[in-house]
């Protein structure tokens, strides 16, 4: 149940996509999002989708995982679609009472929903193929110019690493505590709101206690290994760009330029 949450889940692998430098992967993801938002034409869309399908195939992440990542945002997609469907003005296709649906509305609803779907599918690939540690390393390095203006980049990245590291642990712990209390007859599934809130106490208290204990232990362990923040800290794994990163960078640049050219010169099939 709790374990089925997949956001931020990493699937280890050895593919081209897995081996990309995390910095480049973040940049590529941002570029992909930009491309999606630049697209206002069916042909441009085909390019984005092609890029997505290609990336998933190369990384050997099952397409089923796309569906899994979309599950939590179904309400958002529906909301966007309905909003567009009813509130875009144009030649009415269908009219009843105050409701009118236009051809433009239908088009936009479909287009916007697809855009959100591809957005989530694309960004999920980043977390599917990049371990949380690599990801925060990448973010830290990409943001490191901000250190010049005294922005605590390293501290933030460290906090993120630790938080990411502990999400699965805490989920597992919650599962375990829930099981233990259920074994003592705790009833978590029935009753009104007040009763249900009360039923959470036997779970939340042990969870908080163990979270604090873990935090304390971790702080102690870090201090014992002389952690003292960013200054003078070196890395065991230096990130290094390779031909893969150059290739992907060129590819996405070409694709974005193509999308822009299509927008400028092809007028059929635009939204």
């Amino acid at each position: 149940m709790l374990k089925d949450i997949t956001i931020g889940q990493y699937f280890p692998g050895e593919s081209f996509v897995h081996k990309l430098d995390p910095r480049m992967k973040i940049v590529l993801t941002i570029a992909y999002v930009v491309m999606l938002f630049l697209t206002n034409n069916v042909y441009g869309f085909i390019i984005s989708v092609g890029f997505l399908v290609l990336s998933y195939s190369i990384s050997r992440i099952s397409f089923k995982m796309i569906l899994k990542s979309l599950k939590p945002i179904v309400p958002i997609i529906l909301f966007t679609a309905i909003l567009n469907l009813f509130f875009v003005n144009g030649d009415p296709l269908f009219k009843w009472w105050v409701i009118s649906i236009s051809a433009q509305g239908v088009k936009l609803a479909v287009f916007m929903s697809l855009r959100v779907i591809f957005l989530i599918a694309g960004t999920s690939l980043l977390t599917y193929t990049t371990s949380p540690i690599e990801l925060t390393d990448g973010i830290e390095l990409l943001l490191s110019p901000l250190k010049k203006v005294k922005f605590p980049v390293h501290e933030l990245a460290m906090m993120m690493t630790i938080a990411l590291r502990f999400i699965p642990t805490l989920i597992e712990e919650t599962d375990k505590i829930m099981s233990a209390q259920k074994a003592r007859g705790a009833d978590l599934e029935s009753g009104g709101i007040v009763q249900r809130a009360k039923a959470l106490i036997p779970i939340l208290i042990p969870l908080f206690i163990s979270a604090f204990r873990r935090a304390e232990e971790l702080a102690l362990a870090m201090e014992c290994r002389c952690y003292h923040g960013d200054e003078g800290r070196t890395r065991m794994k230096q990130l290094q760009y390779s031909w893969r990163d150059a290739f992907s960078f060129i590819l996405i640049s070409v694709l974005i330029i193509t999308v822009i050219l299509i927008n400028m010169f092809i007028k059929t099939g635009s939204f």
């Binding site: 099952s62 375990k176 505590i177 705790a186």
Partner: protein, 303 residues
């Protein structure tokens, strides 16, 4: 069978309190992490037995026992408690949980109440018992696990690790389940504390005539306290038999990464070397008896 309860009625087979049919559990189905933790298990646990459950790390012991009170739902297969399929009627699941008490690995993490008393009373209260009955059960339970009455009004978080463990076990015992399952109740305790907790559980078992399943990594403990052994290996059941029959297969156990009690191994070797001893010696006490017998016969002259 060495089972006390079984001997008492002259070897007549008692009805199974827990029975499984083709029980299979798969974790993370449909992802690259798919893992069959228990596969196609058919077993019967007799009413009134004290069963030791052993198996190497990751062999599926914890997964298996969490099916017995319906905490995990089998991917396929059935579980019967007292002859009733527990997943047939989900409304009755809470009753199953009161009948089959489960103490988890490191159970002290489940403590949450302000006082030890209230924490132990959590289970019995959920059963809907009267105040008097709850009070009686709490006091009985702390007596069984050897926690002093003065601790009852203390906060459970002020106790030592061993005391916490006892209180957590008491929280389950207080429900007076027909089947008590303990998942490595002595992990991380000192040897003396371990022996004490297990003796107390054994005593409790003898008084209540209930069924106990003890998951343990210590063959010595299993040999000392259990009447039969369930050996798990790679998500399946390798053997389910009496202590003698299982621990006499020393070689096979070694291959699985398990081992018979040390004293058994010593006697196994002695027998191989041609000494006139039995190899089914499972405790130091047995060993002493054997040696005395051998020495008094005076045929130890070979050495």
């Amino acid at each position: 069978m060495r089972g006390r309860a079984n001997e008492a009625i002259g070897g007549i087979k008692l009805p199974a309190i827990i029975r499984t049919e083709g029980l299979t559990h798969v974790y993370s189905e449909g992802t690259p992490f798919r893992k069959v933790a228990v596969g196609n298990i058919n077993l019967e646990i007799e009413q009134g037995g004290f069963v030791g459950v052993i198996g190497h790390t990751g062999s599926g012991k914890s997964t298996l026992i969490q099916h017995f009170n319906g905490l995990l739902k089998p991917t396929s297969g059935k579980i019967f408690v007292d002859g009733v399929d527990i997943w047939e009627n989900k409304q009755d699941m809470r009753k199953v949980r009161f009948d089959v008490g489960l103490v988890f690995q490191y159970p002290e993490y489940q403590l949450f109440e302000e006082t030890v008393y209230k924490d132990i009373a959590f289970g019995p209260k959920n059963m809907g018992l009267s105040e008097d009955e709850v009070d009686k059960r709490v006091h009985d339970a702390v007596r069984f696990v050897g926690v002093s009455q003065d601790l009852l009004e203390k906060s459970p978080f002020e106790l030592s690790g061993g005391q916490k463990r006892r209180v957590a076990i008491a929280g389950v015992i207080a429900m007076e389940p027909k089947v008590l399952i303990l998942d490595e109740p002595t992990a991380g305790l000192d040897p003396k504390g371990r022996d004490k907790i297990l003796s107390q559980i054994k005593e409790y078992h003898e008084q209540q005539q209930n069924t106990v399943l003890l998951v343990s990594h210590s063959m010595e403990d299993v040999a000392k306290f259990a009447s039969s052994v369930l050996v798990m290996n790679n998500a399946g059941i390798y053997a389910h038999d009496s202590i003698q029959n299982v621990f006499s297969r020393v070689d096979e156990l070694e291959k699985m990464g398990l081992s018979a009690p040390q004293i058994t191994k010593v006697f196994y070797k002695l027998k191989q070397k041609g000494f006139p001893v039995d190899s089914d010696v499972f405790s130091v006490k047995d060993a002493k008896n054997q040696l005395q017998k051998m020495l008094s016969r005076g045929d130890s002259g070979k050495c």
